[in-house]
């Protein structure tokens, strides 16, 4: 009798357990679906330099990104947006560690940022093999849009070729035929040399010398300036950014070369972030860039006013790129309806994105995974008692060729 009752109980118990288990198994896919879609914030890893010569670039990009996200209520695709920032220290090794930390420890949905071309080159393989999406907000290393293209890295900024190549032709036609190039010794410097040389020589110019200075810090700039003076070219074409730009341009002025030998560069060297520190020495410098503070369109006017109110400083090209990066991320998230579980879905949403940006129409070129954009020829002039870049010519819409044929 006791056997019969225990087995009856056991059978009932068994049925109960089996029933609950079956229900649980049926519910699990439902539950996990709820978890991955529209629950929890979208975690965006922000990998930027917050120290040394490029610190102001990192902070400008971050400020502008936060500004855009706040404009859309910190929400996209039905989910909240959360930023996790890390300092690359402009050092490839450190940047790799921080990238790993963001992707593997913090488990971010995507990464945005990277200022230095050297860092981007070092991170390229990591993002490619870990299949994590990186929206590059600055670094212009050419190979990332050419021979080393990977589906997981898209840019909202530029290739180093873009702001330099059209200026070569303009320089040969308007300034002089003998140029001396001065750049820092890393990827972005090399890209500058090849792009400028290609069009400058095609237009009848001659590059009489190239000077590669220690990166990131050149120490005492005097010996380099003295070499430039000794070579006596028709113009000096340079690329420096952030703190290095201040060092170079100030020394150029201190040794009396400003106004004597025309100085030209890609726009970063005299951008709004460094102009105040450079002072008089920057007056008259010609530069090419995909944006200018005084560019006359409604988006730019609104953007520059909002940025100035938020940070107390004038906007700069890095801020514009940060702003556009945030917008691209939001538009992408809206298109995938917040589903960040499938990186291919996110990637497929990117090429079609276009909108009006402070730099003009923003068009993502699917082939080079980089914007097609206008390059403006600017000159540093005094405007209402302050130094700013004034657009003196629009060099047209420039798209990276996707290979090294044009430098």
């Amino acid at each position: 009798m006791s056997q019969k009752s225990s087995s009856q109980l056991t059978r009932r118990q068994f049925l109960k357990v089996a029933g609950v288990t079956a229900a649980g198994l049926a519910a699990t896919p439902l539950l996990s679906a709820c978890r991955s879609v529209a629950s929890g914030p979208v975690k965006i890893g922000v990998l930027l330099p917050y120290s040394d010569i490029y610190a102001v670039l990192g902070e400008s990009i971050t400020d502008a990104m936060r500004m855009y996200f706040e404009e859309v209520g910190n929400e996209a695709g039905g989910r909240q947006i959360e930023l996790i920032t890390e300092d690359t220290e402009i050092t490839p090794d450190v940047a790799q560690q921080k990238a790993r930390k963001l992707v593997e420890q913090d488990e971010v949905d995507l990464v945005a940022g990277v200022v230095s071309s050297g860092v981007l080159m070092a991170l390229r393989d990591y993002f490619d093999s870990s299949k994590k999406l990186l929206i590059c907000a600055n670094a212009g290393a050419n190979p990332i849009s050419r021979s080393l293209k990977t589906p997981y890295i898209w840019r909202t900024s530029f290739t180093n070729w873009q702001p330099n190549w059209p200026v070569g032709t303009w320089a040969a036609e308007n300034v002089g035929k003998r140029a001396y190039i001065s750049v820092p010794d890393y990827a972005a410097g090399e890209n500058t040399i090849t792009a400028f040389t290609n069009s400058f020589e095609a237009a009848g110019g001659e590059v009489i010398g190239v000077q590669r200075t220690p990166f990131p810090n050149m120490g005492d700039p005097a010996p380099f300036i003295a070499e430039l003076a000794d070579a006596a070219p028709d113009l000096v074409y340079a690329f420096y950014s952030g703190g290095a730009a201040v060092t170079f341009v100030k020394a150029y002025g201190e040794f009396g070369l400003a106004g004597k030998i025309p100085l030209m560069s890609s726009g970063f060297m005299v951008e709004e972030d460094v102009l105040p520190a450079e002072g008089e020495a920057a007056l008259g410098v010609f530069s090419g860039l995909h944006w200018a503070l005084l560019l006359d369109n409604p988006e730019n006017k609104a953007f520059t006013a909002a940025y100035k109110e938020r940070t107390g400083r004038d906007a700069n090209v890095f801020a514009v790129q940060g702003y556009d990066t945030a917008r691209v991320i939001v538009e992408m998230l809206n298109r995938v309806e917040g589903d960040t579980s499938d990186v291919q879905k996110m990637i497929d949403a990117l090429p079609g994105i276009s909108f009006d940006s402070p730099r003009g129409p923003f068009k993502m070129d699917a082939k080079t995974q980089n914007p097609s954009q206008h390059i403006y020829l600017r000159e540093v002039q005094e405007v209402d008692g302050e130094l700013h870049n004034v657009v003196i010519e629009d060099l047209g819409e420039i798209t990276d060729p996707g290979d090294d044929s044009l430098g």
Binding site: S51, D185, D220, A222, A229, V246, T247, K250
Partner: protein, 288 residues
Amino acid sequence: METFIIQFLNGLVFSMLLFVMAAGLSLIFGQMNVINLSHGAFYLLGGYIGLSMVRQFENFWLSLFLAPLLVAGLGLLIEYFLLRRMYGAHRHLDQVLLTFGLALIAADLIRWNWGAYVESVDPPPQLAGQVAVFDIQFPLYRLSLIGFGLLLALALWLLIGRTRLGAIIRAGVSDAQMVSGLGINIQLVFAGVFALGTALAALAGVIGAPVLNLYPGLDFEILILTLVVVVVGGLGTLKGAFLGSLLIGMADTFGKALWPQFALFFIFAVMAVILLIRPSGLAGLKGT
């Protein structure tokens, strides 16, 4: 030829800046047998305090005087409360750990207070002009640094070589116990020398700012440069610091002019060669 002279002048400017930095370190090394890895931090701190003073009082000369005093005061505190417990050659590792730790703390505090951007300081208006040297306009401020460095070298030489205090310091370098045995308060001398060394580092920071700018990370670059100068020139002697500064200053300048890509490496190559030929440096004391 003209470029050579210009570059020679550039080298002289950098050498004198290095000398002001190195003199302090050499004194501390030589007199107290203390390895001070926070030397670069004192340089940067002096520079940033100078920057704040220039912004506040709009007077470069004031900061030239005050910043080193403030930093020397800090140096005295550090010496009294921290460093004093670890004198002696057998405590070198402790000194390294302490001063390096202080350097790391200082670096973060500096960054916290003054930010991470590169800051530039303008030379004082009296020295803001240029002097025509051949085709180049050579900045007057840099030329004045040459004069300043030479004057400082002379002043230190007189102090160390021609005064009683200097004699005590030199005796202390040779044999601290003996000096103590003569009834001289060697602790006070040590403290004074450490203060002087840090004051010189801060002074270098103030006068160097218009040339090298100020940014987090500069402290360790300066430390390495100064260590190279002191090792090459010879530990413990003023003559060593002077010769080392000249050699390294010129090597750096001409290295940049002739082989810009290898400029960073060139100084260390020079150091390696010198150490192979003369292990105790150009004018060092034997056995250091």
